[in-house]
């Protein structure tokens, strides 16, 4: 009798280890959802939500100069000033839209073409993948400096190459009208690989059967791409456009590294992000800069909303 009830000393550990019965452990396990999420959420609240709210407040004041200076609440005066500013603000909006639209177009078209070329396995694939990865992880500021040398009007390789095929030298980054297209080229060079990687991930996840079916039905290569691959890949294309679009709108490093403050002496590459940066940290005009940022933020949200809305529409 006693032999049965006496616990065996060499028995495996009881299901519940002692520390698991403590009040703290029970409390922690019960509230693990928030216990796990709370530190990150607090960080986000303190360093992101609060600053955005403050930007909103600053945009309604005349804060400028020193960060310790008194500022006054002036209502929507900044918004009125900014939205009627055809000298710096609207050109910056236009450049932001143009820059984003052009680089997105080239990155998606080229990215799709390269992804399709890489879709089926072949020898040497490894090397192509390495080449695709390198621009993507290179430091954007260094990339900007690298292209500054290549596009230098006097000593750059770009003009030398043009010379060999009999074309005269171009001003590239130094030209008032050629600077923005040149920075677009640099952005396309660096970020097309991102689109390639995303689309390639999408392509490899597609099943082969619809392709085979279309082939048996006699569809040409183009027809198969247009009516089978592209529709199936569309959700991934939208994701690529969304991710690249947000980053393209916010492009800063390449523009600042190649043209410096104010986007060059004629503000030729001054996008909203560069403009807002300059207002804040070159001119310390915090009120107006916050206004520009809030408007910029609304533009980004609007673009994102439009794209995700379209994504849902396509999914139906």
């Amino acid at each position: 009798m006693s032999a049965v009830t006496t616990p065996r000393t060499d028995a495996p550990a009881a299901p519940a280890a002692p520390q698991q019965d403590s009040a703290w452990s029970r409390w922690a396990n019960k509230h693990r959802k928030w216990l796990f999420a709370a530190p990150a959420m607090t960080f986000v609240a303190v360093l992101i939500v609060f600053p955005v709210a403050w930007t909103g407040y600053l945009s309604l004041t005349d804060a400028e100069g020193s960060v310790r200076a008194e500022s006054e609440f002036i209502g929507f005066q900044n918004y009125l000033d900014v939205l009627t500013d055809t000298d710096r603000f609207w050109p910056a909006v236009w450049r932001t839209v143009l820059f984003t639209g052009v680089v997105l177009f080239f990155e998606v078209v080229l990215g799709m073409a390269i992804a399709l070329l890489l879709w089926r396995p072949f020898c040497g694939e490894k090397w192509v993948r390495v080449a695709i990865l390198l621009p993507l992880v290179a430091t954007p500021v260094a990339v900007g400096m690298m292209w500054r040398l290549i596009f230098d009007p006097n000593i750059g390789m770009a003009n030398q190459l043009l010379g060999w095929v009999g074309v005269g030298p171009q001003p590239w980054l130094a030209g008032q009208h050629s600077a923005l297209p040149t920075t677009m080229f640099i952005d396309v060079w660096q970020w097309t690989p991102m689109v390639v990687l995303i689309l390639l991930a999408g392509l490899t996840s597609l099943s082969d059967e619809p392709q085979e079916a279309a082939r048996i039905d006699g569809a040409s290569t183009w027809q198969r791409f247009r009516h089978v691959t592209l529709p199936l890949l569309m959700p991934t294309v939208i994701v690529a456009i969304l991710l690249r679009g947000i980053d393209a709108l916010k492009t800063f490093d390449i523009l600042y590294a190649t043209k410096g403050r104010g986007g060059g002496s004629f503000h030729e590459v001054e996008t909203l992000n560069v403009y807002a940066y300059g207002l804040s940290f070159d001119y310390n005009d915090y009120g107006v800069s916050s206004t520009v940022l809030i408007i910029f933020f609304l533009i980004i949200i609007g673009v994102m909303w439009a794209l995700t809305y379209r994504k849902k529409g396509l999914g139906r």
Partner: protein, 271 residues
């Protein structure tokens, strides 16, 4: 079906062109970093020149780049580790309890322009006399790392079956115990992916350090930017500096290529 021969010829030539376009500028930058400025200005010596290490001497010895390398390493490392500590459990909660709205708030950080955070940060931190210190730099880089880690890890946890955790609960582990002893060890590839990407993005970050660092704490991208003086540019030195910042990160990315690619494309194919 194997592709037809004309297509294979077309594909090979097209891909050679792609690889050349992507690689040539980088190789050109590295080449120029071994040239003296006289050789850089002499277009006849584009390919034939006598390599010199003088630029690297300038950069590493005179321009204090060893210190900036240290700064960049420290900031990227600290921001990554802290973001992993905060981000991995949070991503777990958000994945297992489908906390859609909380996740959205964290992911909004990917959308907000960095400048709009810099202004308030600059206000607060300069009043606290923290601008120029490592604390602020690391905190600001966590703004980039944390959402990235949460985003990657949420996708990773979504893909892990819950059965293993349930089995662990039956065997007497608590929920937290199951996370620590079962889920976390299974998530090592995901954590590696998130950590590597976070490190790369922090290493490459320019704007935050441009505002929040001073001459002792500045990171490599800012140091490169400062290399361009108002007078003529020391192209050789600049290219050596650019190589010093990009080459390590490119080599790391090559070694862990699989992780980098899976991190960059995380969540892209879920539709």
């Amino acid at each position: 079906m194997t592709p037809s021969k004309p297509y294979r010829v077309f594909r090979t030539s097209a891909l050679v062109l792609v690889v050349f376009t992507l690689m040539a500028p980088l190789l050109w930058m590295i080449t120029a970093s071994f040239k003296t400025n006289v050789d850089i200005y002499d277009t006849a010596k584009a390919f034939v020149f006598s390599p010199s290490l003088k630029n690297y001497e300038t950069v590493l010895q005179q321009a204090d780049y060893l210190q900036f390398i240290g700064n960049s390493l420290w900031v990227a490392f600290a921001a990554t580790v802290l973001s992993l500590l905060l981000g991995v459990p949070a991503a777990y909660s958000m994945s297992r309890f489908t906390m859609k709205r909380s996740a959205l708030v964290v992911l909004m950080a990917r959308v907000i322009p960095g400048v709009s955070l810099l202004v308030p940060w600059y206000y607060v931190f300069s009043n606290l006399k923290l601008v120029g210190g490592f604390t602020v730099l690391i905190l600001s880089h966590m703004f980039v790392s944390l959402p990235l880690i949460v985003y990657i890890m949420m996708g990773y946890f979504d893909g892990l079956p819950t059965e293993l955790e349930e089995a662990a609960l039956v065997d007497g582990l608590t929920h937290i115990g199951a996370f620590r002893r079962i889920t976390l060890p299974l998530s090592v590839p995901g954590v590696a992916t998130a950590g590597i990407l976070s490190f790369i993005f922090s290493w490459n970050n320019f704007m935050f350090a441009l505002v929040l660092s001073d001459s002792d704490t500045k990171t490599l991208p800012v140091a490169i930017f400062d290399f361009v003086g108002y007078a003529s540019i020391d192209w050789g030195g600049l290219m050596a500096a650019a190589t010093v910042v990009t080459l390590p990160i490119m080599l790391i990315a090559l070694f862990v290529q699989k992780y980098v690619v899976s991190g960059l494309t995380a969540g892209a194919t879920k539709g």
